[in-house]
């Protein structure tokens, strides 16, 4: 089973990377870019299991390691097709 975890800065938290990306895209002539944010996607290959249980475990991984919930929020997607 594959779990995809998206981790991004919470709204309101300074995102220096995103800001720098947006302004260099503007400098390169992409004026349509109004804002950019950068986050990460962590893709986990997991042993199969009951969907709800797996999700609960991944949630625990996020809280413990993958995200720092002081400044980051996360979203989990489970994907059974790619087993």
């Amino acid at each position: 089973m594959i779990a995809r975890v998206y981790v991004g800065l919470k709204p309101g938290v300074l995102d220096p990377q995103g800001r720098t990306i947006a302004s260099s895209l503007n400098d390169l002539g992409f004026e349509e870019v109004q804002d950019a944010t950068q986050g990460k996607v962590i893709e986990l290959k997991l042993a199969n299991g009951e969907r709800d249980l797996v999700k609960a475990r991944v949630k625990e991984m996020c809280e413990k390691l993958l995200a720092n919930t002081v400044i980051e929020s996360y979203r989990i997607e489970l994907d059974e097709t790619e087993e």
Binding site: P16, Q17, T20, I21, S24, D27, L28, Q38
Partner: protein, 220 residues
Amino acid sequence: MQTAVIVFPASNCDRDAAVALETHTGKAPHMIWHKDTSIPDDVRFVVVPGGFSYGDYLRSGAIAAQSPVIKDLKQKAEAGLPVLGICNGFQILTEAGMLPGALMRNAGQKFVCKISRLRLANAQTRFTKLYDAKHEIDIPVAHHDGNYFADDDTLRRIEGSGQVVFRYVDNPNGSRGDIAGIINQAGNVLGMMPHPERAIDPLHGGTDGSNIFKSILGSL
């Protein structure tokens, strides 16, 4: 002899590079701001210095490689102007397509600052001809993204044509083939992760970096 250092926002070894150039030429280099569109015609050698251009945001060297001055640097390098990219400068040159491959996050995930021992893989280049090929040299590294990657074909090609110039004796970052520095096919653009400008004064703890500057400046 006139030399130049290119300065990007958050370059931080620009002064160190300038000191190294002045020490070896007796003349202060031009400091060229990344927004300038051309490198003065009297410049005979250019250093793209280390640092964290644009904070290393997105990917190290990626945003700097798009700077206005890079276009002219590319053209002049194609016409034969010698260029040395150190650390972030090496990252910028690969991102700009002036050198093959890419520099990824260190395998150990951590920034690493230490004296690294290097083997001369090619002591015949314009940058290395004053070194004794059998000799190993000590030059500091300080980087987070120094893990050299090139696909198999590219690797075979650059190995075959003597483009690998320096190798780590004790690989600090996971680089393929222990590669610490490479040169372009024409032999006038060198990129390396270790910092030769931090090893030119006995008080630095060693002067093994000096011969790079002496070699290339002597060839001009």
